[in-house]
Subunit: 406 residues, 2 copies
Amino acid sequence: MGKNAIVGQSGGPTAVINSSLAGVYESCKKHGAQVVYGMCNGVAGLLEQRVIDLSTVLKDDLDIELLKRTPSSFLGSCRYKLPDWQTDPQVYEQLFEILKELDIGWFFYIGGNDSMDTIGKLSEYGASIGSDIRFMGVPKTIDNDLMITDHTPGYGSAAKYIGVVMKEIIRDATVYGTKYVTIVEIMGRNAGWLTAAAALAKGPDCEGVDMICLPEVPFDVEHFIDKVRALQAVKPSIVIAVSEGVKLPDGRYVCELSDDVRAVDAFGHKNLTGTARFMANLVARSLDTKTRCIELSTLQRCAGHMTSRTDVTEAYQVGGAAALAAFEGHTGEMVALKRISSNPYQCVTELHPISEVANLEKKVPLEWMNEAHTQMTDAFLDYAKPLIQAELSPLYIAGLPHHIYM
Amino acid sequence: MGKNAIVGQSGGPTAVINSSLAGVYESCKKHGAQVVYGMCNGVAGLLEQRVIDLSTVLKDDLDIELLKRTPSSFLGSCRYKLPDWQTDPQVYEQLFEILKELDIGWFFYIGGNDSMDTIGKLSEYGASIGSDIRFMGVPKTIDNDLMITDHTPGYGSAAKYIGVVMKEIIRDATVYGTKYVTIVEIMGRNAGWLTAAAALAKGPDCEGVDMICLPEVPFDVEHFIDKVRALQAVKPSIVIAVSEGVKLPDGRYVCELSDDVRAVDAFGHKNLTGTARFMANLVARSLDTKTRCIELSTLQRCAGHMTSRTDVTEAYQVGGAAALAAFEGHTGEMVALKRISSNPYQCVTELHPISEVANLEKKVPLEWMNEAHTQMTDAFLDYAKPLIQAELSPLYIAGLPHHIYM
């Protein structure tokens, strides 16, 4: 009898994280895992022994197909940071005892920076006690801020969603031909990859966004108003894409200038929403124009109805590649995507030690912006366009996308 | 030589208003109009003689197909209210002079309440001066608040969009299994049709929204908090759909309780956004839970990437029916949709005098809510479900929906 595999999902949900789960599951089955367990709510749930035999919920090919097209984390997620294993081994002892009871040979964790930290610590602790469990990381984040990998599964679909809705917002905003400034707030605390994707809207059928504000560029309030004034002198409807994480030159978040921001969360969590609202208020007070702010909020990370087929496929493939690597004996590594060529687009998977990825953050290179830092250049578009190609329609039942649901 | 036709779009844009434009255009051509003009920015643009020969921009069948799948108002829109024609005839004299110069025989206006007011006044003035121009109204509004017609083109697609994103929001909000209250703000100043559409999310694969707050039901702050507390005692993640127009028992809008609401618009327009934010703040202060507010904003009215095929088809048909009626000699009327049956869904067009529609407002019947006024009943679902059936995919080019663009 072979051993069993276990897989968990961690961090923020995406539209394609379940496609990676499908890739891990099918690949583990193919390579001979007896049972493939799913952790409910990641490592936090595993500590409570909340696991499920995935074959009981993924019964046939239709279930797998539904899983690939279901947004958010099918297994549930967590934000759980493991302590240092050398100074605080107790939780590791507990986890490895649970893994032993489940007869686990292969352990997979689908997530971003923090999740890779988990894989790194578990594989190090495992090595220190002579465990033969293989630990593999599967990259996932809409933020696209993981090092080493060309891009992260989840980013392509979120970028496509942002490109699509920016086109629609621009079209909507110009309809009256009157003076209007629309400010759209996009996720991304420290890295502006998602906000940069607003540049994708531009084309022969769309004039594109008029300004892009990334967190990589210090935000100067007066310069901003001057720029908006200059833009509106030429055309009445101005649409601006702004990252939730834009910061003032002194390092404070722009949204901290808004009095009521922290009131949303009564428990002291620094909530970054409110950036676009603050900026829209500022523009309305400074210029003779109507304004509107739009927060894309969680819509941008879970839009299963608007995914990139390229992204869905790659998410599935990194899951499969992780399983293959684990069964070949690799451990403490993450599957990365390596781009061979942008046009034609060719991309392969490769393996990297988790230490090259965990707890690091990849930002948007400022060379991919114009000199004024208000627009993305063709270099960024060459990078991003292949990632949003082709569509995968949800399975519609009675007019609504059907999801697999536990 | 036959005469010419002219068509305009007015009021807020929708995802299918251009399908009605396509219906009017093709039907006018078929019935023998020489030229079909489009008014740029509705009657306001017509007064400035900004018109376009539509055959110069709709050159072939592909352009028509793109038009049907392009959101927002292709011709641009306006919010222009004609004065009383008996006391203030000057603008009418000017308009009819322009129509005479253009040799117009048939005049079409696609819009909501205010636009039907325009058709009513123009046809009355026309009759008073013995004009033979035929004036027909084509219904359009996501708000679904027009009298007489079973529903309005535009509502089905907006309702479908809302059902789809509510499913995705619910799925996203439950992922950590922690206490969370998500409040989603949906358009609808006085009528709750769009907010009611959040009820469509519920199904075997989705637990649905936990509470619906319509503007038809006075909003009691204390009762609301009590209800949320009771809901969260049973399950951690609560999702609430609230209309931007919910009002306190004293008639004030809930969003007026929020200090900074009116700051967004510097020119005194009572902007209703901020309702969900106010309520999320309220819940965070009152209950031991994290909260999030999401405003669907203009995304819900212009989501050309998520339309109901039923809606697109009906929008096209009411345009065609209006042209047929005008060529048969009708004037001062609006095309309405009359439902024959919900299951199987059968719906036909009919004509009604504009006076039965203009400046009136159809609200959601409270019999279609449960006794506590927190959920929609099956009667509403029977009404709404046929309107969201089937999909019409955008024409994708390089990963993004392609639009026709002037």
